[in-house]
Amino acid sequence: MDFDLSEEQSLLKDSVERLLADRYDFEARKRHGKHPEGFSPEMWRAYAEQGLLAVPFSEEEGGIGGGTIETMIVMEAFGGALVLEPYLSTVVLAGGLLRHAASAEQRAEWLPGLIGGETRYALAHGERQARYDLHDVGVQARRDGEGWVLEGEKALVLHGDSADRLIVSARTAGGRRDRDGIGLFLVEAGAEGVSRRGYPTQDGQRAAEVSLSSVRVGPEAVIGSPEGALPAIERVADEAIAALCAEAVGAMDRMHRLTVEYLKTRKQFGVTIGSFQVLQHRAADMFIALEQARSMSFLATMMAEADDPAERSRAVSGAKVQIGRSGRTVGQGAVQLHGGVGMTMEYSVGHYFKRVTMIDQLFGDADHHLARVARMGSLLAA
């Protein structure tokens, strides 16, 4: 039981925080968001140079061999700066699937470009009817000689518009909501039959609808078992949730600081509004919500590596519930305590609120995960 960072972890934290302090204040973020990709290619290169894209990969893969704690450190810092770049999509989601499901050859071929920052990835898994159900996959993959032909529509593909490559899930067997019969395929974004409609998201990021019309891929595009990819997808989703929890904690922490700062400076009725006990207590409630979220982010980080998928999922779902609820408490409180200024685009606090809100809507909201925990029995160790 030890909550201290190791020396390497402290170095990682310092370096990412320093980078963001230098190049990612709120004004810089506005500029970064104006790139056509919706984020800054220069920052992406900077992450590659600092080794951030290498974090979760083993040393033999060219990575630095970090675990979920290292990812948490990066994501929490990213949350604090409202980072726009597709780290979650490329490193956590696609990177995670490559780590867990791809063959050694595939990793040797694809990871250097990912880690080096040359190739960005997106995970094209969600579909309109699936909502939050990971096993609900309607896109079809049909055998075609040695290769496969993909057909169907993917929805809400995070950073799907700017990705160089897509990892596409598709049904190779069974019915739409069967757990078995799901495969993963690497698809070049520019491949024939792939069309993408990108759009901005509520939190200033980007996503895309991806349409696959008779998209042909070779046998080398299959990642893992073509009929048994769901466990890897579920595992990576849990890792992504843990990462998003950390990002949300970073965002909440910053929102809370901004709010306390505002309470100390904003004057009404001749005094700083922080002298009003009701506002003090609301800030205290927000602080409690933040710390409870931080605790569950730690839990999710720890358990995202658990061997037992049920134990892993229960803990991760519990954390997602806490993050969703705390996000609401902190986000709504931050806007309320800022008053009108918290409602404006010009000021940062509303953007944190929006990001934290969207994190709740991603990979299952608090209600979805609460139902999941309730179905899985007690979260408390015997």
């Binding site: 909502r131 929805a155 009404q268 506002l279 806007v335 309320q336 991603l362």
Partner: protein
């Protein structure tokens, strides 16, 4: 004691609803059902329809176009309007400056302005809040200095809702800085075309443009645009804010939102079943409906008591309406976020071109686009019009004597 509407009141409700069904243009109705914003033209069109019917300004004195309805009928009218839903009349004219002019204005002002407000020939906006004066409104700094037949106004107003369309603005301005802050304020009517006025949009976090900053730089306002007496503006402002609070609960709005929620939760499916069939969701919805039903009864108690109250003296119980009304409205947006699920994510601004994909088919269900923006935007409801914290202060002091 009879807590039911009378047969006459029920017939009146039917009449109102029937008129709305016959006369509200379908495209405007569709927008309102979806929770999208009516355009300026929509609001003007609808106001002119209401005015033709004689229902433009129900709350005004009869001689200026008021309907003479008692508070219960006024309540029923607004409740139907909101829950139908039809666009609400532009409140800055009908509920704010209109009654002030009718009560405190001179004859010339009444004759000129009131018919134009009723017909929405003039679009009004409100110049009360300033960057430094939020909850502490009386600390406002915009000053008006008398110079011959004019006041010269300098300063800045903010949170000026729909000011981008405005022909006129009514302002609280400081005309005497040497006295207690409430006693040096005057109430001025200012033509937005006057040189020296600059309107700067404020974009809100939902991406919309509802509010503005308005800057006054040596703006010359004829003295005949002073309402009532110089330095008595705070009294008129209190009168205005008291009127503003009669419909602060927006029960009809929440009714419509809950009806819509129920429809959408029956449409949107998780796996094989509509969300509405999830017992936990159904109970959350029921809990909200119960709170709203209670609020409606509370509102009716306030309305019934209003018959006996002095006009313009707000019932401090209306603070309950503001607090509960805002909580319920905000809760409806949270439940709708649950229904829309991941499709909250795409951002499709209402007003902008196809650069952002506006003319493309929607992502997810076709009602999804305004859901997240409304959740964000409606956070304002517990902030504006006297924040909920201020309302609780009022309850503690004016009702509980603490």
């Amino acid at each position: 004691m009879d807590l039911r509407f009378t047969p006459e009141e029920r017939a009146f409700r039917q009449e109102v609803r029937g008129f709305f069904e016959q006369n509200l243009p379908k495209d405007i109705h569709a927008k309102m059902i979806d929770g999208r914003h009516p355009s300026k033209d929509d609001i003007v069109t609808w106001q002119k329809i209401l005015n033709k019917q004689g229902w433009a300004v129900p709350n005004w004195p009869v001689e200026w176009g008021g309907t003479g309805w008692d508070p219960v009928r006024q309540y029923i009218f607004l409740d139907e309007l909101q829950s139908f839903p039809a666009p609400s009349p532009l409140q800055f004219g009908v509920y704010m400056v209109g009654p002030v002019i009718a009560q405190f204005g001179n004859e010339a002002q009444k004759k000129h302005f009131l018919p134009r407000i009723a017909n929405l020939d003039d679009w009004w906006c409100q110049g009360f809040s300033e960057p430094g004066s939020g909850s502490d409104l009386a600390s406002l700094k915009t000053r008006a200095v008398r110079d011959g037949d004019h006041y010269v106004v300098n300063g800045q107003k903010t949170w000026t809702t729909l000011g981008q369309y405005a022909d006129w603005i009514f302002c609280l301005v400081r005309t005497d800085a040497t006295v207690k802050k409430q006693e040096g304020i005057s109430f001025l009517l200012i033509d937005m075309k006057t040189p020296g006025i600059t309107v700067r949009p404020i974009q809100t976090i939902d991406g919309g443009h509802e509010v503005n900053e308005v800057f006054f730089d040596d703006v010359r306002v004829p003295v005949e645009n002073l309402v009532g007496q110089e330095n008595k503006g705070w009294d008129y402002a209190k009168f205005l804010l008291g009127n503003e609070r009669t419909n602060i609960a927006r029960v009809g709005v929440s009714k419509q939102r809950l009806r819509r929620l129920r429809e959408l939760a029956a449409l949107e499916r998780v796996g094989d079943a509509p969300i509405l069939e999830n017992p936990r969701f159904a109970e959350k919805l029921a809990a909200l409906e119960i709170e709203l039903k209670a609020l409606e009864m509370t509102q009716l108690r306030v309305v019934a008591a209003e018959r006996k109250r002095e006009k313009g003296k707000p019932d401090p119980a209306s603070s309950i309406l503001k607090i509960k009304g805002s909580e319920i409205q905000q809760a409806t947006t949270e439940l709708l976020m649950e229904v829309v699920g991941p499709f909250a994510l795409p951002y499709a601004p209402e007003d902008e071109g196809d650069e952002h994909g506006h003319n493309e088919p929607p992502v997810g269900p076709d009602w999804a686009a305004p859901v997240a923006p409304t959740y964000f935007n409606w956070r304002k409801i517990s902030i504006y019009g006297g924040s909920n914290e201020i309302q609780k202060n009022i309850i503690a002091k004016a009702i509980l004597g603490l």
